[in-house]
């Protein structure tokens, strides 16, 4: 692949990616957003983060699978997050359970 075609490809994907990130911030930031849309937008964060978490855990690239250790790790992480409300504790709990379960199962 030539330098120029690789650079053009990178610039095009970079420009579109930036455009997707900027579209609402630049386009809507100066205007009043209707109340129903504002209420709906509050659901975007939880929906996307949950979708991201489980899709990443399951593979999400055509080959789907959640192993028992991975499932147990997510449950442990979920319980820890719910009760501790601490990101580091959640990470430590989830990854520890994953390593232990993979060693045992």
């Amino acid at each position: 692949m030539s330098v120029w075609s690789a650079l053009a490809l990178t610039l095009v994907v970079g420009a579109i990616t930036y455009g997707m990130r900027a579209i609402a911030i630049v386009g809507l930031a100066g205007r009043e957003i209707p109340q129903p849309i504002q209420r709906a937008l509050r659901n975007v964060g939880p929906a996307v983060l949950a979708a991201l978490a489980l899709n990443l855990a399951a593979g999400g690239e055509g080959s789907v699978g959640l192993t028992w250790p991975e499932g147990l790790a997510l449950v442990a992480a979920g319980i820890t997050a719910w009760f501790s409300r601490n990101v580091i504790a959640t990470l430590v709990a989830g990854m520890s359970v994953l390593w232990i379960a993979e060693a045992l199962l």
Binding site: A6, G14, I23, I33, L49, A51, N86
Partner: protein, 238 residues
């Protein structure tokens, strides 16, 4: 006395971003490794980091470049990050009171981690939000450039048995469970996660987008049906 550094940088933002970046380190290494094994010239491959600044899209581009049509590579690289449109929409109200330059610069560093951290602080005063957002975003940006470059050097020696690639899933799950307090958001997370899991077989991580759309729809319906009923008593997000 405060130095220019402390006036510009929100140290809390940097401190919050560190634990979220750690799980991205193996991913950065993987991107770096893919650059060394791909068809792109190495320097251009690394340039995907400052220009695209989106791990999954970069990975798709450097992996597919030279082995698929240009249009296929562009579509793959773009579709993966469609969720960024929703991040943009969700943060748009917070940017309403920001100066014009911030509205143009802010989106450049709007990645998963930036969104997750700043969305939780969307109700802060504009100047405080701006300082926090830019500190988080550009700290993550700087670390990502270094990590991908290091990955090009040392990526091949990280053992698979560490399973660090699983850490982002744990982090994102934890972040959503820490953040939700009301019935609509809980519904959105539950439906979004479930549908995304059921749709995980779709190519190019389309399952994330499908799950997110379903989750937002379900959360909106729950909002109309139940209103802002709380799901727990704890009041302040970590």
């Amino acid at each position: 006395m405060s130095s220019p550094w402390t006036r510009l940088v929100d140290r809390r933002g940097v401190a919050d971003a560190i634990p979220l970046f750690i799980p991205a380190i193996p991913f950065g290494f993987v991107v770096g490794l893919a650059v060394t094994e791909g068809e792109m010239p190495m320097f251009i491959g690394w340039l995907t980091s400052p220009i695209i600044f989106a791990g999954a899209a970069q990975l798709a581009v450097v992996t597919l470049a030279g082995t698929a049509s240009l249009w296929s590579v562009i579509v793959a690289g773009v579709v993966i990050n469609t969720r960024h449109v929703m991040y943009s929409a969700a943060l748009a109200p917070s940017f309403r009171h920001q100066p014009r330059w911030m509205r143009w610069v802010g989106p450049y560093v709007l990645i998963d981690q930036t969104f997750a951290l700043t969305f939780l602080r969307a109700d802060r005063p504009p100047s405080e939000f701006r300082r926090y957002y830019l500190s988080v975003g550009f700290f993550l940006w700087f670390c990502w450039q270094i990590t991908v470059a290091l990955g090009m050097l040392v990526g091949p020696i990280v053992p698979d048995s560490w399973r660090l690639a699983f850490a982002p899933a744990v982090m994102f799950l934890g972040m959503v469970l820490i953040a939700i307090e009301k019935v609509p958001q809980t519904t959105a997370a539950f439906v979004g996660g479930s549908v995304s899991l059921a749709a995980a077989g779709l190519p190019d991580r389309l399952g994330i987008l499908v799950g997110a759309v379903a989750g937002v729809a379900a959360g909106t319906l729950a909002d109309y049906r139940f209103g802002d009923r709380p799901v727990r008593r704890v009041g302040v997000a970590a």
